[in-house]
């Protein structure tokens, strides 16, 4: 019977299908973006969602079709530890580089669920000059995270890559998540399309944050299947509500992945990813006032050059580098402080003819560090942490004790040295002067 039934029904339906309307894929895409944006907004909290839809409903004629708007003033304030992190952006910034962030006004902007079961949370705070700073946690609201600032509103379309987990020696990400976040100043922006090297395409909505921020933000987790070379994100395209391209960031992520590969650390040896760890040598080791063993290691760099890195009690330390071979003459003094918390170390490279680096303190003390194969490593003793006793100048000497060069060393930046009584700087943030 089914043999007779099927053509009968098919014939009837063919006539019925003739009355169907025209397909409109653009409309489907627009609806999909709204749907995705709505799901994202629902993660941001009920109050924010109410505000969003109030704006959407009230301003359809203002080019807000498909546009998700987040009212900054009504957003949930950032937790105290995040406010502190924002305020600290100003504390140790070099002269002229302080963003002037108004940390106390930091607000939650986005929450996006991650494959780890945690949420990515994006916080934003305005700056005094009309820009903003943003911070991203990939471990929910209870944790802090990295971020940056667009103090002068220069970032038309500024994506970034966040990899909070460990990275293997070959630059392999060992643990999720990998997150693309960023901001745009283009008011028409509705979504970011992520185009992968293997032809796959994904998109993520842009959430526009209202005055005084006036910028759009996005957060997107790169799926595991797109972590490896050949499958990674290749181009990010900023699009308006009709899918028209507004801006693109081409090959930026490839560069980021390469940089990430360079920043990878072997968890066993602390060696940078570009180093050949089997050929590592410990050049200098010191025992600090607190009893920790700080060591400086070197190893050949793959492709030429030399890598160096620090370990602290055998664990990866606070500094590493793998400069490629260079024909430029090395500066006589290229050492700096690893500061902020004990131990305070002076570490770095010196010129070929430098045998000793003298540390001249303001109270007249002089400390000598022996150069080993062009490297120095030493601890700044705690008696030289207070103002008036701090490091004031570095002097490079040759093997005969003759001065080769000297360099003033200013150490008045707040937060450089630990202290017993931090002072309040901004938004309740305390730091050592």
């Amino acid at each position: 019977m089914s043999d007779r039934l099927k053509p009968l029904l098919a014939a009837e339906l063919a006539a019925f299908e003739a009355a169907a309307g025209e397909p409109d894929w653009t409309d489907v895409r627009r609806k999909a973006r709204k749907f995705a944006a709505r799901r994202l907004a629902l993660r941001a909290g009920t109050a924010a969602v109410a505000a969003v839809f109030a704006v959407l409903a009230a301003t359809p004629a203002l080019g807000l079709r498909g546009h998700l708007v987040h009212l900054f003033a009504d957003s949930e304030p950032a937790p105290a530890h995040v406010v502190t992190e924002f305020a600290q952006l100003d504390v140790a910034a070099p002269a002229g580089m302080a963003p002037g962030v108004i940390a106390a006004q930091a607000r939650d902007v986005l929450e996006v669920p991650l494959s780890t079961g945690e949420d990515a949370v994006l916080w934003v705070a305005p700056t005094r000059s009309g820009g903003f700073c943003l911070g991203l946690s990939t471990s929910g609201r209870g944790s802090g995270g990295g971020g940056g600032c667009d103090r002068d509103r220069l970032g038309r379309f500024s994506p970034g890559l966040v990899i909070p987990g460990p990275v293997g020696p070959e630059g392999t990400v060992l643990k999720p998540p990998i997150v693309i976040d960023g901001h745009t100043l283009v008011p028409q922006a509705v979504q970011v399309e992520i185009r992968y090297q293997d032809g796959d395409v994904a998109d993520t909505p842009v959430v526009w944050v209202s005055d005084p921020i006036n910028a759009g933000f996005f957060v997107y987790e790169v799926p595991r299947r797109h972590w490896d070379a050949g499958h990674r994100p290749s181009i990010l395209v900023l699009e308006d509500g009709d899918g028209h391209e507004l801006a693109r960031s081409k090959s930026y992520l490839d560069q980021m992945f390469r940089a990430m590969s360079a920043a990878g650390v072997d968890s066993n040896t602390g060696a940078p990813a570009e180093a050949i760890p089997s050929q590592r040598r410990e050049l200098i080791a010191i025992t600090t006032e607190q009893g920790s063993r700080e060591a400086l290691w070197v190893a050949p760099r793959r492709g030429g050059g030399r890598c160096h890195w620090l370990t602290s009690d055998g664990l990866p330390g606070r500094e590493q580098g793998c400069p490629p071979p260079s024909t430029e003459p090395h500066p006589d003094i290229a050492a700096g402080l690893l500061s902020g918390s004990a131990p305070i170390l002076l570490e770095g490279e010196v010129g070929e003819g430098v045998a000793t680096l003298e540390l001249h303190y303001r109270d007249g003390d002089v400390q000598r560090l022996k150069a080993v194969e062009g490297f120095v490593l030493g601890e700044i003793p705690s008696r030289h942490w207070p103002r008036g006793r701090r490091l004031d100048e570095l002097v490079a000497l040759d093997a005969e004790g003759r001065e080769i060069s000297r360099r003033p060393f200013s150490t008045e930046t707040p937060g450089t040295y630990p202290c017993a009584d931090p002072i309040e700087l901004d938004a309740g943030v305390k730091s050592c002067p």
Binding site: M1, S2, R4, L5, K6, L8, L9, A10, A11, E12, L13, A15, F16, E17, A18, A19, A20, G21, P23, D24, W25, D27, V28, R29, R30, K31, A32, R33, K34, F35, A36, R39, G199, D200, V201, A202, P223
Partner: protein, 161 residues
């Protein structure tokens, strides 16, 4: 092929079929059109959830039928209890139309999905939230009922086009 492209291709090639079959469910072409647009939009927005375990079309049908039935995606109530497709066109062969109308709503729904939407048993089962055996049994009964009705009409001198 990535899911977004596959969805667009499915949409463009099968739009009329989706709209027409859903019109039998919603009894209104405009509403059916909205359901199709919404269903593909939801599928597009949630495409990362599609794991390729069934057919893409079956997955979209599942979304569309749930929208047509007004069910939330998390509802456990079977679709076949909520959808009651109507005979699509008045010009339909009178004997066939009468036979289809005489089917139970569930059997009628399965007939429409099998012979109008051209879904497989597995796709119907997945879309309606029932077992494959239920679909097979319901369709077997439906074919018998329709066949008997059509044979009876034929024997009485009615034409089967």
């Amino acid at each position: 092929m990535n899911v977004e492209r596959a969805l667009e291709q499915l949409y463009r090639s099968r739009y009329a079929r989706f709209e027409s079959v859903l019109a039998t469910m919603t009894r209104d072409r405009e509403v059916a059109r909205d359901v199709v647009q919404e269903a593909f939009a939801v599928a597009l927005a949630r495409r990362r959830q599609f794991r390729g375990e069934g057919s893409l079309e079956g997955w979209v049908w599942k979304i569309a039928l749930r929208l047509a039935a007004g069910l939330r995606s998390g509802s456990a109530k079977p679709l076949s209890d909520r959808l009651d497709p109507a005979v699509p066109v008045p010009e339909l062969d009178p004997a066939l139309a009468a036979a289809i109308r005489a089917l139970s709503p569930r059997r009628r729904l399965f007939v429409f999905l099998r012979y109008f939407a051209d879904l497989s048993y597995d796709e119907i089962a997945g879309a309606c939230g029932v077992s494959r055996g239920t679909v097979a049994a319901a369709l077997a009964h439906a074919r018998t009922e329709l066949g008997l009705a059509l044979e009876s009409e034929s024997a009485a001198g009615g034409a089967i086009r």
